[in-house]
Amino acid sequence: MIDNSIIATVLVHLFTAIIQLFFWKKPGPQRILSIIGAAIGFLFALSLFIKVYNGEILKMNAANWDAPFGIVFVADLFSSTLVLLTSIAALAVSLFSSVGVGKPRMRYGYFPIFHFLIMGLNGAFLTGDIFNLYVWFEVIIISSFVLLTLGGRKEQLEGAVKYMALNILASTLFLTGIGILYGITGTLNMADLSIKIPLVQDQSIVNLTAMFFLLGFGIKSAVFPLYFWLPSSYHTPPSAVAAIFGGLLTKVGLYALFRVFTLIFIPNEFMRSVLMIMAILTILTGAFGAIVKHDIRRLFSYLIVCHIGFIVGGLGLYTKIAFMGAIFYLIHDIMVKTNLFLISGVIRKMRDTLDTPKLGGLYSEYPKISLLMALVLFSLVGIPPLSGFWPKIYLFEAAFKANNYFFIGSLILASFITLYVIAKIWAEVFWKETSAEEPPTDNFKELTLVRKTLFLLPVGMLAMVTLFIGLNAEFVIQVVDRIANEMLNTAPYVQAVLGK
């Protein structure tokens, strides 16, 4: 069904960013505009989700050119769920940024670039055209380059070189794949590709093209041999930026992997085992990396890598239950990882450092805030009935049915290591006494009540969403069940886009 309002979430952030550019070097108005823009974006995303949840797949033909000739934007349940999660994360980070980002950064365009980034994310989730997906990816990476380097500290720039080089390389590989794909099929529309790819006579070139996509998206979503840029850059920018990066940037790579490998290239036995091996090694390397790190944000960066393996593993198993587990984990992960980095920002404000040996005493000083943070940390570990628990059941079940014991083993090991790491953080940061001779610098206490609220409101908001996902898992399971069905049976998607 044609519905032009699906593009609204993209346009809201575009216009917010453009209006903010008129307030260059004026942080005050930019902050307010940012929060208003993010709130409106959230409302549009919510209405889009409700419309798609209650109805059918919606689409928009750009400039009224019919698919497959023009660019289409498609909102199926998978896209609209991710758009909704993006908007929630964007609203939280926008609130947090209004106090958590320094004035100099705001003066030099932090907020407009932030909204361009969110626009790019929404566009990437909604587009139904493979080349348009490439363009949205470029919008995302150029905005993320600027956010990563804004401030110009030495560590930031050093991290940014690695981030930039690998992300441009990933885009080049992706573009190469698109070029070959167009050469063999003559179309760029994803729905049309899903019809035409099985008709190609020489399937070996199709598999080769699939490898280009796997490599390109693999770098972006930080899977095993390609993840090194992530832990070496995510700990350098301000926590608000790290939150949006950690929560969403790798997830857009995962979204693209799922979209391309369920709609266009149906993975054969070999491809599935490649995905499985990548997933297992991603889980293990991420988990072991997290053990040795002291800095909270570096530790969280490795946990991101580890948990990406869970989701890729769900794709590799390629059954309905595995998809349900993977998508549920994706939903949970976006909310929790965003929140973790926001929490690290709050801790930094309270103690002026993020190195665990120097931290301590948060529980005795801020018992209520600590409990709020504990809720998020426990959800990450997956203590029932919190949100990390449910997707793991599905992943275990799917792996058992496929007799894939290596995956089960690595899932269990990674869950234990996550538990160990979180317990370590809890003991070191919250329970440990602070040393008496040098009392820690606390910049949080002196803040006004409004500023304190602005720091804690987004953390609380995301924690509530996590709690909702955990306690109301039945609803989420219904959603992921439908998404998994959409992935295994792409005929409704194709029909909605091409109208036949």
């Binding site: 363009v135 070189v161 930039m164 390389l169 080049t172 573009l175 050469g183």
Partner: protein, 118 residues
């Protein structure tokens, strides 16, 4: 013409990968640019390179009857060129700033040891 382009694309990709694998930052940048150009030429090649065959259907026909020069890849390349122009100019400025801070062209010097690594 096509064979020539195939070789050119191969050379550009090979040179790009070789340069990216070097440790110098400037070579990394040049490698990225060469790979980007190789990709653009690849898309160009896949859009059927033929002389004097514009994609216009004759007045008395309904469909194309012979090979024509496909305009879509050329539009794609144009987009890709503009994007890579923006990315490359950002990369150049970034590397210049890094060079000013680190005063080294070696990528291995980019790991400022942090407290926990010591």
């Amino acid at each position: 013409m096509e064979l020539l382009l195939v070789f050119l694309i191969g050379v550009l990709y090979a040179a790009g990968v070789y340069l990216i694998l070097r440790r110098s930052m400037v070579r990394l940048l040049l490698g990225i640019m060469l790979l980007g150009n190789g990709t653009n030429l690849l898309i160009f090649l896949l859009g059927n390179i033929v002389k004097g065959k514009p994609p216009i259907i004759k007045a008395d026909l309904k469909v194309f009857e012979e090979i024509y020069a496909d305009p879509v890849p050329q539009a794609l390349i144009l987009t890709a060129i503009v994007i890579s122009f923006g990315l490359n100019s950002f990369a150049i400025v970034l590397l210049k700033r890094v060079y000013a801070l680190v005063s080294s062209d070696d990528l291995d010097d980019l790991n400022t040891p942090e407290e926990e690594d010591l």
